[in-house]
Symmetry: C2
Subunit: 215 residues, 2 copies
Amino acid sequence: MTRPLATKTVVEAVTDDLRGRILSGSLTSETAVTELEIATSYSVARPTAKAAIEKLVGENLLVRGTHKSARVAELGPESVRDIYLARAYLESEILRRLAATHTVPEEAVRANADILALAGAGDLALVEPDMRFHTALVDAVGNERIARMYRSLVSEVRLCMTRVQALHLLDSAAIHAEHELILVQLAAGDAEGAAATLDGHLAAARERLAEALGT
Amino acid sequence: MTRPLATKTVVEAVTDDLRGRILSGSLTSETAVTELEIATSYSVARPTAKAAIEKLVGENLLVRGTHKSARVAELGPESVRDIYLARAYLESEILRRLAATHTVPEEAVRANADILALAGAGDLALVEPDMRFHTALVDAVGNERIARMYRSLVSEVRLCMTRVQALHLLDSAAIHAEHELILVQLAAGDAEGAAATLDGHLAAARERLAEALGT
DNA sequence: CGTAAATTAATTGTCTGACAAGTATACTCA
DNA sequence: TGAGTATACTTGTCAGACAATTAATTTACG
């Protein structure tokens, strides 16, 4: 069996780099993303730039109307609440099912340990292990489509977080403690408890983020 | 406020028609979908056909590797189980939340009535109101991203169903009864009961569909 | 006769260049 | 100052072409 090596087409390369720029916050909704600008800055043809933009529109990271320039999706408080509520719907049910089989994903344990290790490394550094913790839970159910759906949400969540990276929204100790509680409840098979803890965990983050983005 | 009138670009028109042909089953995974064939049959340029194909790939209705022709996504038993399990994850949590507020969506009630009305109209006719029932429940939570995720699953479910339309997999009376029970449990605020009923409802459909598609 | 290598055909990836169509802005004239 | 027109900018679509890769067919050799 030959391993499928990661060869990237030009469109994919541009898409990935653009996505990185969006998620890192160096591309904001203030500046328009025109096809010509992308094409010239990457030295590719316009159809190539167009394809990359349309891919990101499909991922809901960019928005654009017909004959209008694409822009980074602006995420107001209502979008943040929508995203986090969607997360809560997905993840609380996931926890119920994991608790039913007393499953405690190893990757989630490692990710939570990393949160403690990075305690004083700045707020932005906490985002990655936090995301990894939740992603590990989702992946543990082994459902391809659930994982796909969650990925699309995660992109938007990261988009939010870069906007408020300067604010001290994340308290590493509190996050670690709540995650730990969830893991304990999973091991104990306490489905309702785990779901409730997660709801609280996400609700707190949601409201703080929504408030920070509020006009 | 000007109403956004539904003008379709050529790419959208081709995409919509192609999607219809896929969901109706007139395009199967046996025949390859080449860019040139689409371009000539619709009398559009190849880049236009390419864009339409890539849109449908983004919707997981078509699959294709680099430098290979696109094909309708083949859905074996494992895909069916994956899809239905994802549905169960989403919908059972949705029912819990709807039950918490004793919400009984009117559209779901109407859809379930239609299932009875179409009792003897052939199996394929039952798919539409069945889908409408579940979609109504999802839409009732008022979450844009949840709705988006569910839509992508529904497309794949319909893709499955067209493959087994000849089999008598759906018993309208049983479906109606289970739906009715869910609505009653929602009204009573019985979250666990509604979730359990749904799980059974989806599990039965899933196994019958998976078995029918089994090699 | 069967297997492996080489050639050929088919398909997609990407580019250049162009024109049409729509949007938004700026400008002119009343 | 306000309204209508004119202009620049951007996207939608097309045509044509070449490169790169995959798959199939043919050929050569054991």
